[in-house]
Amino acid sequence: MLTILFDGVAYGMLLFVLAVGLCITLGLMNFINLAHGAFAMAGGYLTVVMMNRMGISFYWCLPAAFIFAAVLGVVLERTLYRRLYDKTHLDQVLFSIGLIFMATAAVDYAMGASQQIVNLPPELNGRVEILGANVGVYRLFVIAICGLLTIALQYVIARTRFGSRLRASVDDGRVARGLGIDVTGIFALTFAVGSGLAGLGGALGASILSMDPSFPLKYMIYFLIVISVGGASTITGPFFASILLGVADVAGKYFIPAVGGFIIYTIMVAVLIFRPQGLFTRSAKR
């Protein structure tokens, strides 16, 4: 029982790290980047290449995945994404689906279609007893890393000067601009960090979520669910949404294996019907 809860939390945490960047940039620029998963895939594949082909330690792969995805993010933001901010949501959706297709085919071309498998360092394999629950060491590791990241993010957003500017920009971009806040710069930075986090999530998840070229499409749906349940623009909303989804998904499959797959979609539609602005958001702002 506890093990299930634990697995659910680990899965949810991973989802959170993967999706949080998308949530913030969505709230910030009202821009929907469905190709967010491509950054996660970039991080995941970088880990695969570094570990399996170059023999570099897994622990170095994590920061490398973050930096790689972040750089990729900022380059794309500066060259392509910025042209789309004033276009319709439909254009943005199509554009990012196009990017997903390109990323999928490019990875297929470079790395092959089969699933990539990451062999974790031995100390992360195995299981330990905690509070009477038998839990995987790696999942513990994932929870620890994601937990630290969440705390760090929360600190940056709530306590730092950058954080307050970010919050102001998300609340009302026009006013923030009027106050002399460099919203474009903040956005570029947030986009980079968001992509970097996705890359890190991809690296962390490579051994749990299975990396193959269809990753961005497969997980796009999960990201959308995290946003629609958690709402954009804060990080606590997506955080609780991710945990809820992780636990509901794992517990659903455990207790009622026959309909496990349904549960998360049903939650999503129910939330969108009853609380279109998300379950964990303050009342609608606009």
Binding site: H89, L90, V93, L94, G98, I100
Partner: protein
């Protein structure tokens, strides 16, 4: 076509002298917007002629027409009512399975097993699902709509794969036997019957949609798309109109799904899958929304592109499709039909200038 024909921007800039010319009554001018044009005859003539030009490709042409019909159904909601959705695959799939089940269990029941009745069932089932879910798209922003419709499509897909006893689950629906159309024409291997059947049904649906968008009802949809706040303020029952068009659109999508099942004699979960919804939307945008022809032309272009690229790099054609999409969004407004309309306008304007001085 009324939307563009009735308001060529060139006219706005025309000197007042033009209005001094023999006056066409405003009503006649509006009516003229819904008249059949030469290029429309040309389009359908080409579709008809493809039977003789590409006798080897009849199955592919049928598939393109079905895809075009699906995109056309999205055009009604997106291009006319301005509803942004990403779940049309759900209705396509419901129609596909409804027609499949009708053919499977209706087989041998004389006139009751006729494919045309199957189409009615497919449209009815999809329309019903559309009607029920239409209430979800009445609220919220474009983004909410995209996600709700996507969610609905995913749930339908889950149901299809889970309800094995009815749908056959992941293996698809087996044992679909298509009876002869009107008891006379059987579906042959060359796809001849399928071609005529699909062409005629598609044309009838198109003709219906064309009447619809040129009617006062269609005009009111454009009003909702243009400015829902204003539309409400003049007393328009905006929600009822949206429910109506969403339901009609779902029914047509279901009809397209039914056509696919009947001509291929099976239904499988990938008829409901995400890529159906995404592809059909891409096709519409590729072709250009709000012109009715966009979906059909987009389907042709999309398939030609897929074939062309697929022949060069069968494994990586997805990359080029993605690239085309990205470029399309960045540089081309209003798809292929938009490009053609612009080109035509420039051409005619030039020739005018040539004559006048």
């Amino acid at each position: 076509m009324s939307a563009i024909d009735a308001k060529p921007p060139a006219e706005a800039a025309a000197p007042p002298a033009a209005s001094g010319a023999p006056a066409v009554s405003p009503a006649a001018r509006l009516l003229a917007g819904s008249r059949w044009r030469w290029y429309e005859f040309a389009f359908w003539g080409l579709a008809l002629g493809s039977y003789f030009v590409f006798p080897n490709k009849l199955m592919l042409i049928s598939e393109i027409l079905i895809l075009g019909l699906l995109a056309l159904s999205i055009d009604l909601t997106l291009g006319y009512a301005g509803l942004v959705t990403l779940g049309q695959g759900a209705f396509f799939g419901v129609g596909a399975y409804a027609a499949g089940l009708a053919a499977k269990y209706g087989a041998g029941a004389g006139p009751w097993s006729d494919p045309l009745l199957g189409l009615v069932i497919a449209a009815g089932a999809a329309g019903l699902v559309g009607f029920v879910t239409s209430f979800l798209v009445l609220r919220g922003s474009d983004l909410t709509r995209l996600m709700v419709t996507l969610g609905v499509a995913l749930i339908v897909e889950e149901i299809v794969t889970q309800a094995k006893s009815v749908t056959g689950g992941s293996d698809g629906l087996q044992g679909v036997m298509s009876s002869n159309v009107l008891g006379m024409w059987s579906f042959d291997l060359y796809g001849k019957t399928a071609f005529w059947y699909v062409l005629i049904v598609t044309f009838v649906c198109f003709w219906f949609c064309r009447r619809l968008v040129n009617s006062p009802f269609g005009l009111s949809l454009l009003a909702i798309k243009g400015n829902p706040l204003r539309a409400r303020a003049i007393g328009m029952p905006v929600n009822a109109r949206l429910v109506a068009i969403y339901t009609i659109s779902a029914a047509i999508a279901g009809l397209a799904g039914g056509l696919l099942t009947q001509t291929t004699q099976f239904a499988s979960p990938d008829m409901v899958a995400f890529h159906r919804s995404a592809d059909s939307l891409l096709i519409l945008i590729f072709g250009g929304s709000g012109h009715l022809y966009g979906g059909l032309i987009g389907a042709v272009a999309f398939r030609i592109m897929q074939d062309f690229i697929g022949n060069i790099t069968p494994q990586y054609w997805l990359f080029w499709v993605g690239l085309v999409l990205v470029l399309l969004v960045l540089f081309v407004r209003n798809g292929i039909v938009g490009l053609m309309a612009n080109g035509w306008r420039r051409l005619t304007q030039k020739s005018h200038e040539g004559k006048n001085p």
